[in-house]
Amino acid sequence: MADIRVEHLTKTFGALRAVDDVSFAFPSGKVTCLLGPSGCGKTTLMRIIAGLEAQTAGAVYFGDHDVSRLSPSKRNIGMVFQYPVVYRGISVYRNIELPLQSMKLSRSERIRRVDEAIYLMGLTASAAQDVSKLDNGTRQKVAVAREVARQPQFILFDEPITNVDAASKLQLKRSLKELTRSLSQTIIYVTHDQTEAMTLADQIALMEEGKIVQCAPPRELYNHPADRFGGWFLGNPGMVFFTAALSGTDGARALASPLFPAPIAVSGATGEASDVTIGIRPEHIRLSADPLPGSVPAQVDRKTVQIGGQYLVALTVDGLANHGFKAKVAPSVGERLPASGPVHVALPLDQVSLFDAAGNRIAATLRPAGAPNRAQ
């Protein structure tokens, strides 16, 4: 098994830099999700890797081989598109078998591969059916099975679940999860859906404006975003941000904000003292009708129930420059909170991220002033 590497890959469309000097390695045997908002260049990057789009600059390597100038048919890859591509008028079985016919395989090997792919994707019951009669979700399974049966070196998925109805979506996601685990193949999976990425990926490469801004396993990416974009993009809702003042010098830094009852000691942050941004996930914010350790008074503006029974609580804290924010609390907590009125809010310091003026994460540890610095 080989990895996929791209080096200084750039693709421009007129003045637009869809892929902007990306150097990155997709490790072998792992599922890497390219995640980002629409138009961030993730599909273009994948299409360049597939050979369906020519790069403006840079190179693509499969293992040690430079495949930059190779046609898609010679790259030995499988690709599943957003829209289920199936050959209408023929059965599921024939759809999967069709590309194998040009591969000079023995009949028994062909049958074995098709049967295996059908079994893996749970298509046994519909194998003899005409694909024209299937729903989009099953058609997409057929498209995936066709690629799996070919046993290519790499499989690329371009938002394969997007055009599938809600019921089939869950089923397809489960099938893909099982498939990726059983294949142990180098897989690139493009999506703008973070839940999909979190479910399927071994690692997520987060893209913004043509660049990969961070790559990490899903949990790490979620808990420790490298910049404000990562914090904002991931989560539902994303991280909430507040501006705060970082004062003092190296070794004796203090962070002041109306969200803390007293200045917070900051260690690890270097450079000039300045305004910074505090970021915290809404579900990490603690709320209570009674005072909590390290809490400040706040006002509930409204609370709404979300899917799963969690409450989304809109709050304001006196003195906060950027006024309201939202916290997400468990049903047991949310039920005890007033629909509006005073509450107490606390930000657990181990869950707080700091970002500099450019939006990049500051590697710093926060502790209540006067508490021993365990980081040292």
Partner: protein, 277 residues
């Protein structure tokens, strides 16, 4: 849209009346084929009559009829099949590679169908005479191919535009060549378009008279020319003969249209429904 039941019945009645009015000449021909000459030219229309096969038998025994019928089949099917093959290749290129000025080129190609036939028959005749193609089989086939390509191209391009580019890309990624992609993957997706183009063009060639009369020779005459030129008997127009020939000649086309009518409908609405498929 839900109309009142009585109003809906009225609409249906009007539709039936209009459809039957359109069908009347065809019905007249069909009935005439089985009438005697006397019944056919009688000043008072004869609705009840004893059907006779004499006209049909006479037509089949006519020395040139079967040769002309055979030529109608060969020229129609041959030229339309060639035209569709060429048009598919051209439509694929226009749809997938979109050369500069695609729309204008397509307009130019179709313009030959916009000119009235009598206006172009002379220049084409002169051209054919100069090339030595007049009254030849290949000249006649080429002419019908040329006339069938533009319309087929328009129909097929509409269909190909509706087939997502992802089909081509999947086939390429799956290791297929461009030809494999075109013929094994994309072509089956536009089957309704191919049938629609075939039927539309065969209707034209099957019934074409003027060019076959001017450009064709003894070995390339089709039935419409026989209908127009060989139907005099004793200085009079032989209507029984016309009716019998027409009846026989219309049958294959009516049968084909009946079998493939759903494709005709798709062909007539091509380009109106788009999207990834």
């Amino acid at each position: 849209m839900n109309a009142h039941p009585w109003r809906q019945r009225l609409y249906h009645l009007v539709l039936w009346v209009v459809a039957l009015a359109f069908f009347m000449p065809v019905l007249w021909i069909f009935l005439a084929a089985f009438k005697s000459s006397g019944e056919l030219v009688s000043p008072n229309p004869v609705f009840l009559f004893r059907p006779t096969m004499d006209n049909i038998i006479r037509v089949v025994q006519e020395p040139n009829f079967l040769d002309y019928l055979r030529m109608s089949f060969i020229l129609s099917i041959g030229s339309v099949v060639i035209a569709i093959a060429v048009a598919f290749l051209a439509a694929y290129s226009f749809s997938r590679y979109r050369p500069t000025g695609t729309n204008f080129i397509m307009f130019l190609l179709l313009s030959t169908r916009m000119v009235p036939a009598p206006a172009v028959v002379l220049p084409i005749f002169l051209m054919y005479t100069a090339l030595g193609w007049a009254k030849t089989f290949h000249g006649m086939i080429l002419f019908y191919v040329m006339f069938s390509i533009p319309f087929s191209l328009w129909i097929l391009k509409g269909f190909l535009d509706g087939v997502s580019l992802r089909y081509d890309e999947t086939a390429l990624v799956n290791g297929g060549s461009r030809l494999h992609t075109m013929f094994r993957v994309v072509l089956p997706q536009v089957k309704p378009g191919l049938v629609a183009a075939f039927i539309f063009n065969i209707i034209f060639v099957w019934n074409e008279f003027l060019f076959n009369y001017i450009l064709g020779g003894q070995g390339t005459t089709m039935i419409p020319v026989l209908l127009a030129t060989g139907v005099k008997q004793g200085g009079m127009t032989d209507w029984s003969f016309i009716a019998a020939i027409s009846f026989i000649y219309m049958l294959p086309l009516i049968l084909a249209i009946y079998v493939f009518q759903r494709y005709l409908l798709v062909g007539m609405t091509f380009g109106t429904v788009r999207g990834e498929v």
